[in-house]
């Protein structure tokens, strides 16, 4: 893979992928280096006059407590991205495992797993998320691990169904029959035969879900069930500053813009990636 090859690939990829990856790379850089470059500490009080508006020193203004909103947004980037990605990854891994095994074993087990998955899917995202947080109890409230778990749990049933559908397509193929005739264990068939032939679908599913995850994390933060203050998670910041929306709208618009552009960027990227993967999934790996 030399440079011209990458250039070719870039030129042939869909517009949405190109634009999305630019936005995404920007946010990844911010996530990695943002915390080092913040002009003020994320919890530093008195960074400026509270509720003073946009200025060169404070592009997103100053909140009620005198904290620099821009610094808080920069610092919060890695938190949002980490929570979203960790949650999605966990959801895809568990969901894929359940889906593939359920499809291969079949019978009543498959029946039970699928009905459970459907039941969970029928509950709206946020309601389900809040239900889990409520069940987890007040001690765990605000724990980043809990947020990751919530995202994973919300996604798992959806991934399960997707993985099962993809696996059913593969199970009827002759190489799976050959593996069964050889006496391979269910685990071996799932791992060697089913998983490699469903990775394309799962990757597409992962990227689409990852695109929505920041929105879910942000919503939880906004409702006060996410990360606890003073950690500058974006949804939480929007929620904290919403009383100021008439006085200094920039303190809400700033983190709002950040969240919106990350979600749009992720979605464009994943949609473009899904299209490319969808096209090449059948070709196998070179």
């Amino acid at each position: 893979m030399n440079l011209t090859h990458w250039f070719q690939l870039w030129r042939r990829s869909p517009q949405s992928l190109r634009l999305g990856s630019i936005i995404l790379v920007f946010w990844l850089l911010v996530a990695v280096f943002g915390a080092l470059w913040t002009p003020y500490g994320y919890a530093q009080l008195g960074a400026g006059l509270p509720l003073s508006g946009v200025s060169w020193d404070h592009p997103f203004g100053i909140d009620q407590l005198g904290r620099d909103v821009f610094s808080r947004v920069l610092y919060g980037t890695h938190i949002v991205i980490l929570l979203a990605l960790a949650g999605t990854t966990l959801g895809v891994v568990i969901g894929a495992l359940i889906g593939l095994v359920s499809a291969y074993i079949g019978g009543w087990l498959d029946e039970v797993v699928q009905r459970f998955a459907e039941a969970f899917i029928s509950i709206p995202f946020l309601v389900l998320a809040l239900l889990i947080i409520a069940l987890a109890g007040p001690d765990l409230s605000g724990d980043p691990i809990l947020i990751v778990m919530v995202v994973a749990f919300v996604y798992t049933p959806r991934i399960t169904r997707m993985a099962r559908a993809a696996a059913l397509d593969v199970i009827t193929r002759d190489f799976v029959t050959i593996a069964k005739l050889r006496g391979e264990s269910a685990w071996s068939v799932v791992w060697r035969e089913l998983l490699p032939n469903t990775t394309g679908t799962l990757l597409v599913e992962f990227s689409l879900r990852a695109g929505y995850a920041p929105a879910l994390v942000g919503s939880l933060g906004f409702l006060g069930f996410g990360i606890k203050p003073p950690i500058p998670e974006w949804g939480l910041m929007i929620s904290e500053n919403r009383q100021l929306i008439l006085a200094q709208p920039i303190t809400v618009i700033g983190p709002g813009l950040a969240l919106a552009s990350l979600i749009v960027g992720l979605n464009m990227f994943t949609e473009g990636l899904a299209r490319i993967l969808g096209r090449t999934v059948k070709l196998g790996e070179q």
Binding site: R12, R173, D174, F175, T177, I178, A179, K180, L181, R182, G183, E184, R192, E193, P196, N197, T199, K282, L283, G284, E285, Q286
Partner: protein, 685 residues
């Protein structure tokens, strides 16, 4: 003999390219061909030679990723390639029409077949009036010999058999009285008996309507029945054009000779002595002769010198500069079978009264006594060590189902399967590791039987790890040995299935089965997805492997020619019941079971050209299933009541051949005609 007249259609110097993954690939290079009035031109070649592309170009039909670089298609004074879509619509289906390969996908599943033909007539303004259209549809259906045209026109495609569907497609192509009919592998998906009937129909239609045809196929035997002239294509080049008999009797181009030599034939005693070596590698085509890398007669200039068609004799052209110095191919008589493994004496596999059914009885069906009829009924077979038993029959005869039962995919409903003198559990999960190791399955389609995400190394290592617990260097060596056994070198280890050709993939599938060192190979139509030259290679490979490893094979095939070339014994199945079993020589000589005889008559042979003895179409007369002879309804020699009501007896013929028929053996011998038509060197047997 033929005076050059105005051709109906002529292709001149056609260059054609497809764009795949960003690159233009030439698929036709300087192809010129013409079809004269009333003539059937056959186009033959292996997959990827450009024959279908050429056929579709005659309709001026281009896919969006196609480009014509040069050339003309002249039809009635027009260059079809210059015409607009609206002008082409006036031509296609009216003057030039197409019979596609797969009638199942060519017919729209939700429209009644009569209506689909009506659409063609209306679309082309051929007929307008409803009653006239209906009349025309009836006329067309009778023309293609469909029974009960009135009722049939109201059916949906799925209510017709494959042969009937293809007849509807032919009727549709004929709807507007075309001058030229293009047939793209029209019988490839059909059973051999249906194929022979469709070919007979086409021959009759051509006489009756006097139209000309372009017949595209990979099957030389089929062309031998219908074509006047044949064009042989290789890698996008037309390498030889000749009248039918001259092509088969004195082929000039080395590729043609190899191709003819590779075709297995039911007439085993005759064979072109040449076969084809190597594989077509499109990315390594020389500027000169495309066949040079695989040719036995190449000299220094072949690689550089572009070859043009030179006239050998009237109507016979060949694109080989060396044709004068190469002997034309001659069929040679083979005296002995080329190989002989004497099968051992001990029985390896025995099926005793095995019946098989797909779906188990549900509560409903068992309460109401509506259990479905088993697809395989009371089949008893035996197979000895290092013996090849071929299971022959049409699609739906249950031959693959039997292999599935032996493999342990489908537990038998009743009956016993014995392997190595011990009972074999119906379900694979209840078999011992030893039994699983000893019975290996090879599927028809290597694309589906190799995991596309596993490297060849991973694919071959599984049975070695699973059955022999090999690891590290032992495993490494064993994989190399496996590859070597199917004549692939160790560079294949790191490759993935999609980087291999179809033949190489099937070799890997065979290597995987052999890696388990089985005693029994179940081969389910393993050659039918492959080109003839590849088939020939795999057949000789299988023979060699069998001699070396003393493996028994249950070889399932619809192709009697292959069976004759490979099997020791044959079992003929019809609709789930055994009709005849016996040694291969005995099966191909009288007395024949009536069904075997029907099958043999239907097999097209290149040594029996323009065969006129197509069996009469016999309607399936309703027989109560499970009662009488399963074949009674289609039997041309049916005796009447006794056949439909009473189980036919097994009659012993010689030492180990059995025929199940109400006719006595003498009568069957007397009625047999197939062996008489094999021209040449005496009677078989």
């Amino acid at each position: 003999m033929r005076v050059a007249t105005d051709p109906v259609i002529a292709v001149e110097e056609l260059d054609f390219a497809y764009r795949t993954s960003g690159q233009w690939v030439t698929v036709l290079k300087g192809v010129s061909v013409h079809i004269e009035k009333g003539e059937v031109l056959g186009l033959v070649g292996e997959s990827g030679c450009g024959k279908s592309t050429l056929a579709y170009t005659l309709l001026s039909y281009l896919r969006s990723n196609a480009r014509i670089d040069n050339g003309k298609v002249l039809f009635g004074g027009l260059n079809l390639l210059d015409l607009q879509r609206s002008e082409l619509d006036q031509l296609r289906g009216v003057q030039i029409s197409l019979v596609p390969q797969n009638p199942t996908t060519a017919l729209s599943p939700h429209i009644r077949v009569g209506q689909q033909i009506g659409e063609v007539l209306v679309q082309h303004d051929f007929l307008q009036d409803k009653s006239v259209i209906d009349e025309r549809i009836q006329e067309l259906f009778s023309l293609v010999e469909l029974p009960n045209p009135d009722a049939l026109a109201l059916r949906y495609p799925h209510q017709l058999s494959g042969g009937q569907q293809q007849r509807v497609c032919i009727a549709m192509a004929l709807a507007c009285d075309p001058n030229l009919l293009i047939l793209d592998e029209p019988t490839t998906g059909l059973d051999v008996t249906t194929q022979s009937q469709i070919i007979a129909l086409l021959i009759r239609l051509r006489k009756q309507l006097g139209m000309c045809m372009l017949y595209v196929t990979h099957d030389l035997g089929v062309l031998a029945q219908i074509a006047d002239r044949v064009g042989v294509m290789y890698a996008g080049y037309m390498v030889e054009v000749a009248p039918l008999d001259r092509l088969f009797d004195t082929p000039r181009h080395p590729y043609t000779k190899g191709l003819i030599g590779s075709v297995p034939d039911v007439d085993i005693r005759k064979r072109m002595s040449q076969s084809l070596k190597g594989l077509l590698q499109r990315d390594k085509l020389p500027v000169g002769c495309p066949f040079q890398p695989r040719c036995d007669h190449e000299d220094a200039t072949c690689r550089e010198m572009p070859q043009t068609l030179e006239i050998v004799s009237d109507g016979h052209q060949v694109a080989c500069q060396r044709w004068r110095s190469i002997e034309p191919g001659v069929p040679v008589d083979l005296t002995d079978a080329e190989w002989s493994t004497a099968p051992g004496d001990r029985s390896l596999l025995a099926l005793d009264n095995v019946s098989l059914r797909y779906s188990a009885d549900t509560l409903f069906s068992s309460v109401f006594g509506r259990s479905s009829i088993p697809v395989v009924r009371q089949v008893s077979l035996s197979l000895r060590r290092s013996e090849t038993l071929a299971l022959v029959g049409e699609s739906g005869s249950g031959k693959s189902t039997i292999a599935k039962a032996v493999a342990g995919i489908l537990p038998p409903l009743t009956g016993i399967i014995e392997f190595d003198e011990t009972g074999l559990a119906g379900d694979i999960r209840r078999r011992t590791a030893e039994q699983r190791k000893n019975i290996q399955f090879i599927f028809q389609n290597p694309d589906a039987s190799l995991n596309p995400r596993s490297s060849i190394e991973q694919i071959l290592s599984r049975p070695l790890v699973k059955f022999f617990g090999l690891s590290n260097s032992e495993l490494h060596d064993a994989i190399d040995d496996s590859l070597a056994s199917v004549k692939l070198d160790s560079t294949y280890r790191a490759r993935y299935p999609d980087e291999l050709s179809g033949g190489e993939r099937q070799r890997v599938a065979i290597a995987r089965a052999l890696a388990a060192r089985p005693k029994l190979l179940l081969c389910d139509e393993i050659l039918s997805a492959l080109d003839v030259s590849v088939q020939a290679n795999i057949i000789s490979l299988l023979r060699q492997l069998q001699t070396e490893n003393e493996i028994a094979m249950l070889f399932i095939s619809h192709d009697l020619a292959v069976v004759r070339n490979l099997a020791h014994r044959v079992a003929v199945l019809y609709d789930g019941e055994l009709m005849e079993t016996g040694q291969v020589e005995a099966l191909f000589s009288p007395p024949f079971h009536p069904y075997t005889h029907v099958l043999l008559l239907a097999v097209p042979s290149i040594y029996n050209r323009r065969a006129s003895n197509v069996p009469a179409r016999t309607e399936i007369v309703g027989t109560a299933a499970g009662k009488g002879c399963a074949f009674a309804g289609r039997c041309p020699w049916q005796l009447g009541e006794v056949c439909t009501q009473e189980d036919p007896p097994w009659r012993q013929n010689g030492q180990s051949n059995w025929i199940r028929c109400h006719h006595p053996l003498e009568e069957l011998s007397k009625r047999a005609t197939w062996h008489l038509q094999l021209n040449g060197t005496g009677k078989p047997g």
